[in-house]
């Protein structure tokens, strides 16, 4: 398990990361969400000791510098284009393999895994963003690390690449490793992550499983269809529950299906459909991070989007 405690980082008067603590479990993909400028990348850099700040990050109980070969504990991808443009893809990985005491045979293995075997001798300066991301993934998994820390690894990938990345990271986690990944592709995160950590303006907003995040959100509703919707609505209102009549049923807010079902049964009303309608991760993300954006754009009409 990766355990981060009280991570903080100031840039002069700005608090980029403000006392953040969380755990990353093995066997799971943990998503890391937040608006632009929320402090995601800085948090990852603090976890790796690349930035100087306060707080600690322990990997299986030890700080990274206590391991003789840190790259065998954690593989990283913080920037897609982090390579010398004229050093071939294979040589780039050979440098990293040498530094991490990894057999050079592994270089061709990982190039094959990420699908870059054919361009191994090419200079990566001319790689597309997607190919660069794949090279970054190859670098991250070179030492077969127990943990992966990836910052926006799906950026620039085509749909096929995104699916590949999702399946790859899920299977990497299924092998008993821990994957910590930030992304702006919320639908992708919803499919890939088991847990999610949300930050805004450097502060921790949520740290939970995707399932409970989606179900606990205020935008999650219970949808019910009944033979007598008006009567059911009145009963629910008597119980101080917020309702909204829709075209074919009734939306009930801040309640679970069990309660609605019981109330309908006690009133002798037939229930034709009773289901939870969870908010999408995008709805939840926007609600959680409302007012916590560092940079806010305006829509064409001039109002804040």
């Amino acid at each position: 398990m990766i355990k981060t405690e009280h991570l903080s980082k100031d840039y002069r008067s700005t608090k980029a990361v403000d006392d953040i603590s969380f755990d990353i479990e093995t066997g799971k993909v943990t998503g890391f969400l937040g608006p632009n400028g929320a402090g995601k990348s800085t948090t990852m850099r603090l976890m790796l000791g690349l930035d100087n700040g306060s707080g600690s990050t322990k990997y299986d109980g030890k700080q990274l510098h206590e391991y003789s070969c840190p790259s065998s504990m954690v593989g990283i991808l913080l920037e897609a284009k982090a390579f010398h443009p004229t050093r071939s893809a294979r040589n780039h990985l050979k440098v990293l393999a040498t530094a991490g005491n990894v057999s050079l045979k592994r270089v061709d293995e990982v190039l094959d895994i990420v699908g870059l075997k054919d361009v191994a001798k090419k200079k990566p300066g001319k790689f597309s963003l997607g190919m660069s991301q794949r090279l970054g993934i190859a670098a991250a998994i070179l030492s077969k690390p127990k943990y992966l820390i990836l910052d926006e690894p799906a950026n620039g990938l085509d749909p096929e690449g995104i699916v590949w990345m999702r399946e790859f990271l899920k299977s990497y986690a299924d092998d008993g490793n821990g994957v910590f990944v930030s992304s702006h592709l919320l639908s992708e995160m919803a499919q890939m992550a088991d847990n999610v950590i949300v930050i805004g303006k450097g502060k921790l907003i949520a740290n939970t499983s995707i399932k409970s995040l989606l179900s606990s959100n205020t935008k999650s509703t219970v949808f019910v269809r009944s033979g007598n919707l008006t009567k059911l609505q009145n009963i629910l209102k008597e119980k101080s529950l917020q309702t909204e009549m829709s075209k074919d049923g009734l939306e009930v807010f801040g309640v679970k299906t069990d309660e609605v079902g019981k109330l309908a049964h006690m009133s002798g009303l037939s229930v034709l459909e009773l289901t939870t309608r969870n908010a999408s991760l995008e709805d939840v993300f926007l609600e959680l991070t409302e007012g916590k954006e560092e940079y806010q754009a305006r829509n064409p009409k001039g109002t804040k989007s």
Partner: protein
């Protein structure tokens, strides 16, 4: 630690710029050592350092830029080894593959030291040979040459190493290729001469780049009064390098990775 050193050498020899700069140094030597000093018989053929001088090859190669100028290329290679890490953000891999920033920096220093020594040795052998070859090809008559091998050997090695270390230091200070290379060129030819205008000629000898050049030039044949010997000049350079390294080391440990 050994892995880190090996990786640094691999970085050095897996980029095109290293070979281009080595090639440029060799082209320069072909022009200057082979053609000017050798084939043409010297820059100043009417001076006392003519072909009848028994120290012609040694003095021309060491004093007139036959070896100092190409050694500059090893310093640029040292700048690139460090500054490329920041330019292309590979420093994050370098730092996370080692459990100590001290080890990372020591590996860089060892790699640059190793490279600069091998490079300087190559130039030490090539420069006089190219000069001899030029003279013989042009059938010029050359006086029997006296060569102070030991003196020549340590001075060029120290000069080459110190130059490369200065390059590495500048790259750590600036973390930028252009700023580091500009500083490498401007400091010895602009900034230091301006500072020198404020000092007496005796005190000017204690300026870092003046002292560095003096290691190659001073007292090659005889030493005048009030002039620092090559050994003392080397000590002056070492003091500046130690001070520079204390600052650079502190910055490397304390600053964010990039």
């Amino acid at each position: 630690m050994t892995a880190g050193i090996k990786a640094e050498f691999r970085k050095l020899f897996s980029v095109r710029s290293t070979y281009i700069l080595i090639g440029l140094a060799l082209v320069y030597m072909l022009f200057y050592d082979f053609y000017i000093i050798g084939f043409k018989g010297g820059v100043h053929t009417d001076s006392i350092t003519g072909l009848h001088n028994p120290h012609y090859i040694m003095t021309e190669v060491m004093r007139a830029g036959g070896i100092a100028a190409p050694i500059l290329f090893s310093s640029i290679i040292a700048v690139l080894l460090m500054a490329h890490e920041y330019r292309y953000n590979t420093i994050m891999y370098t730092l996370t593959s080692s459990n100590s920033r001290n080890k990372t920096l020591i590996a860089k220093i060892i790699a640059v030291t190793g490279f600069s020594i091998i490079f300087s040795l190559l130039l030490e052998v090539l420069a006089p040979l190219l000069a001899y070859a030029g003279i013989h090809l042009h059938h010029l008559s050359l006086a029997h040459q006296v060569f102070y091998y030991r003196d020549f050997f340590w001075r060029v090695l120290f000069f080459g190493w110190a130059y490369a270390m200065i390059g590495l230091l500048l790259a750590i200070f600036f973390r930028n290729i252009i700023a580091s290379v500009v500083a490498l060129f401007l400091l010895p030819v602009t900034i230091e001469p301006l500072i020198g205008l404020l000092l007496s000629s005796y005190r000017q000898q204690y300026l870092p780049f003046t002292a560095r050049t003096a290691v190659l030039n001073n007292g090659l044949l005889r030493i005048g009064p009030g002039i620092l010997s090559a050994g003392r000049s080397a000590m002056v350079v070492m003091i500046y390098l130690v001070i520079g390294w204390i600052i650079a080391w502190t910055l490397f440990l304390r600053r964010d990775s990039n």
